[in-house]
């Protein structure tokens, strides 16, 4: 075969590749381009056609030129056959293995495993739900449901409990006791919504006079009843939204009773409760902000619930006498001994504010319990 006929052979092959590309690329019924894989084949065929045309043109030009000088020994490729064979077999094997590895149902709903929903449905349930917990732990649940953690499901802290419940309590369940466990939710972070209770350990320990850093949260706060509310959160009084400094100002801000100059009065208690705030400012608890005792829970974007807490255990969160608390902090009270001292021993409903109201503020007629 001479150069010219070889060139025409190449041109014919290129033309065939182009025709094949058109045939592969377009759906004749709809006139649309076919799938991405189809387009990849088209691209490959077009590239092949271009290469074939180039080789053909080269052959024609070479045929026109004067007879070429001998180009030395011809290149041999026989030794490369095993290599390309191995590469070809490996790639084919990998692609074949891949096709087996593709999960069944892949592609049924786009680029997803079509069986994923059924697979997920068939996983055994790991969480039991609050009702199962209540079957054995009704007392804890009653405390839990009325206090600040009411909206936190049991298994948020205790982990999945289905196994524990199925084994009637014989299988172990997580009982977190370290302060780090509490801080997962309550550590102060710029990214948390300002209304969510967040603790800077350092500040909090200073405020309540804890001198030992190893003290755990649960030594004062019962996890099931962290704030000892004396009434159910859901029956607490509705109150317009209280904005805290942190709601707008990210970063550490001092929540003080007084607002900065020229700041709109949107969060001050004195805006409505002028008399009480003025009264409180003259008494012993003047350094304690209103919301320390009147805890606010945000219900919606407009309103929340406010608790006026008078349970003695709530007061004792600050005033409890304990070895880990410094003497210079709020006066420490040994509650049973104190009751005995004042002659109210054994009185179950005794409240601190029954005697010590004068240290906080007088009760205004508007704020009945």
């Amino acid at each position: 075969m001479n150069r010219t006929s070889r060139a025409f052979l190449f041109f014919a092959a290129a033309l065939a590749a182009l025709i094949a590309a058109f045939a592969a690329g377009w759906d004749h019924d709809t006139g649309d381009a076919r799938s991405t894989a189809g387009m990849a084949i088209v691209a490959l065929l077009v590239v092949t056609a271009i290469v074939l045309v180039a080789v053909g043109v080269n052959a024609v030009l070479a045929g026109r030129d004067a007879p070429r000088a001998p180009a030395g020994p011809r290149a041999s490729y026989r030794h490369t056959v095993p290599l390309f064979l191995v590469v070809g077999v490996t790639v084919t094997a990998a692609l074949t293995a891949r096709s087996f590895a593709v999960p069944s149902g892949f592609g049924a709903h786009g680029y997803f495993r079509g069986t994923a929903p059924t697979e997920a449905r068939d996983f055994p349930l790991r969480h039991a739900g609050k009702e199962r917990c209540a079957e054995c732990h009704e007392d804890e649940l009653n405390l839990h449901d009325k206090d600040a953690h009411a909206k936190v499901p049991c298994e948020t802290c205790h982990g999945p409990g289905a196994q524990h419940a199925d084994a009637s309590g014989d299988a172990p369940i997580l009982v977190p006791r370290a302060k780090e466990d509490c801080l997962v939710c309550h550590r102060i972070l710029d990214a948390r919504p300002g209304a969510f209770p967040q603790i800077s350990l350092q500040d909090h320990y200073r405020f309540v006079g804890v001198k030992d850093d190893n003290v755990q949260c649960i030594q004062c706060h019962s996890p099931h009843e962290p704030l000892y509310m004396d009434r159910d959160l859901r029956t607490a009084r509705l109150h317009p939204l209280i904005h805290r400094c942190r709601d707008c100002h990210i970063g550490r801000t001092d929540e003080t009773l007084s607002r900065p100059e020229a700041h709109p009065a949107i969060f001050e208690c004195s805006y409505c409760h002028k008399t009480i705030v003025a009264d409180a400012a003259a008494r012993k608890h003047r350094k304690v902000s209103c919301t320390t005792c009147h805890i606010f829970f945000r219900d919606s974007d407009f309103a929340g619930r406010i608790i006026r807490d008078a349970d003695p255990r709530f007061c004792l969160l600050c005033h409890r006498k304990a070895a880990f608390r410094s003497d210079t902090a709020a006066p420490g009270i040994d509650w049973p001994a104190h009751l005995k001292d004042v002659g109210k021993e054994g009185l179950k409903n005794a409240r601190c504010i029954d005697c010590h109201q004068d240290r906080i503020h007088t009760i205004a007629p508007r704020s009945r319990p």
Binding site: R74, S76, T80, P103, Y111, D190, A191
Partner: protein
């Protein structure tokens, strides 16, 4: 001006994700140098041609290791190839990476077949491995050499677009994230390709000098001079593109400049402005310019080129850092920043990064023990004997 969303407090793409584009870039750059000889006939680069090819290979072997270390379930990495997804940029990377790895392995086979044969004729484990790699066919003559050369040239030519695609793709991974104003720019792909070439040439110059010094070889002046000039050219383009990108955003004063300006002035001032541009771009630019334009004494020119190459290695690493970490310091709210400082001993800390980055050099040494990467190296003593 300080608000971050809760899921942005922690920087999740850490040192490992900085290392990944860095190592991938070294691959692309080293391969381009080898192609300059094999395809474009820059014969002065012959002394480092096989070295650069082998470097591309060993860096390629470790390019994805940082990603696997970063993953909690590294075995799931292969899912991107089993169930690929055209909406996932990373899925394409798996295929491109594999194709490129096959190409580089083939290229090495064809370029170094003669050396493998020489080694296979010896004894020992290495000889046995070489014989297996050659499929026990140790025949070699003028015809096979010509065939090998032709295929190697073809593969090297094919490798250039693939190398650009591989590294352009890494840029694409970042550049296509439209939610992040620090990343989302079409220039990102081009910047990544050019910075890859810069880092690749730099690591070759750096390593060539170190290896020559340790072995007492004479450094090939024409080769180093040529690499220095290529490095100068490519670094000018790379840095110019990096500056143009930021200039265009700054000049347009689009809304994202509000936050990007602050990012540069506050969070990245040291690593971006002071280190990446003022120090590790400006000084190598001047040094390489001096080496290219002024006739200096050999030793001085070599020292200058080596220092510039080493600084540019750091420049590219800083660039990767500023892209990867910088983009995550910025909140999607465009109103705040988080912070990041790498740990030394943590899972994705600096120590692991150093170990991963050292491994390619160890493999390269093993490679060199099997097939010499500098067959034409001239000992310094020979030079003095000539005189």
């Amino acid at each position: 001006m300080d608000y971050v969303f809760p899921n942005e407090i922690n920087v999740t793409w850490t040192v490992m994700i900085v290392l990944y584009p860095y190592i991938t870039g070294l691959v692309a750059g080293a391969f381009i140098v080898s192609s300059l000889y094999h395809v474009f006939g820059r014969n002065e680069l012959k002394p480092v041609a096989r070295f650069s090819l082998a470097s591309a290979f060993v860096f390629l072997l470790f390019a994805t290791l940082p990603l696997l270390v970063h993953l909690g379930h590294p075995e799931r990495a292969f899912n991107i190839m089993i169930t690929p997804n055209f909406t996932s940029a990373m899925a394409g990377f798996g295929y491109i990476y594999t194709t490129y790895l096959i190409l580089v392995v083939l290229e090495i086979w064809f370029v170094m077949r003669a050396d493998f044969i020489r080694r296979a004729k010896g004894t020992g484990l290495a000889a046995l491995v070489c014989r297996a790699l050659l499929f026990f066919n140790l025949h070699e003559d003028e015809q096979t050499r010509k065939g090998d050369h032709k295929i190697a040239t073809f593969l090297a030519g094919l490798g250039i677009p693939l190398a650009c695609l591989l590294h352009g793709y890494v840029g694409f991974l970042f550049g296509s994230l439209k939610a992040n104003p620090w990343w989302a720019t079409p220039l990102m792909f081009v910047i990544f390709i050019f910075s890859a070439i810069v880092s690749g040439i730099s690591v070759l110059i750096f390593h060539y000098f170190v290896v020559s010094f340790l072995n007492g070889w004479k450094v090939d002046q024409a080769c180093v001079r040529s690499m220095g000039r290529y490095l100068w050219g490519f670094m000018i383009v790379a840095v110019a593109l990096e500056l143009l990108e930021i200039l265009s955003i700054a000049y347009k004063q689009t809304e994202e400049w509000e936050v990007l300006g602050e990012l540069i002035e506050r969070k990245l001032f040291l690593s971006y402005v002071v280190l990446q541009f003022m120090t590790f771009s400006l000084i190598p630019f001047l040094l390489l310019g001096i080496a290219a334009l002024i006739k200096l004494r050999e030793r001085l020119a070599n020292a200058i080129t080596w220092i510039a190459a080493t600084m540019l290695l750091a420049q590219v690493l800083l660039m990767r850092w500023n892209v990867v970490i910088g983009g995550q310091l910025l909140s999607k709210s465009l109103r705040g920043f988080t912070s990041y400082f790498p740990g030394l001993f943590e899972k994705e800390g600096v120590l692991i990064a150093v170990i991963i980055f050292t491994m390619p050099f160890i493999i390269l040494y093993v490679f060199h023990r099997i097939v010499p990467l500098f067959p034409d190296a001239v000992p310094k003593s020979a030079r003095t004997a000539e005189r």
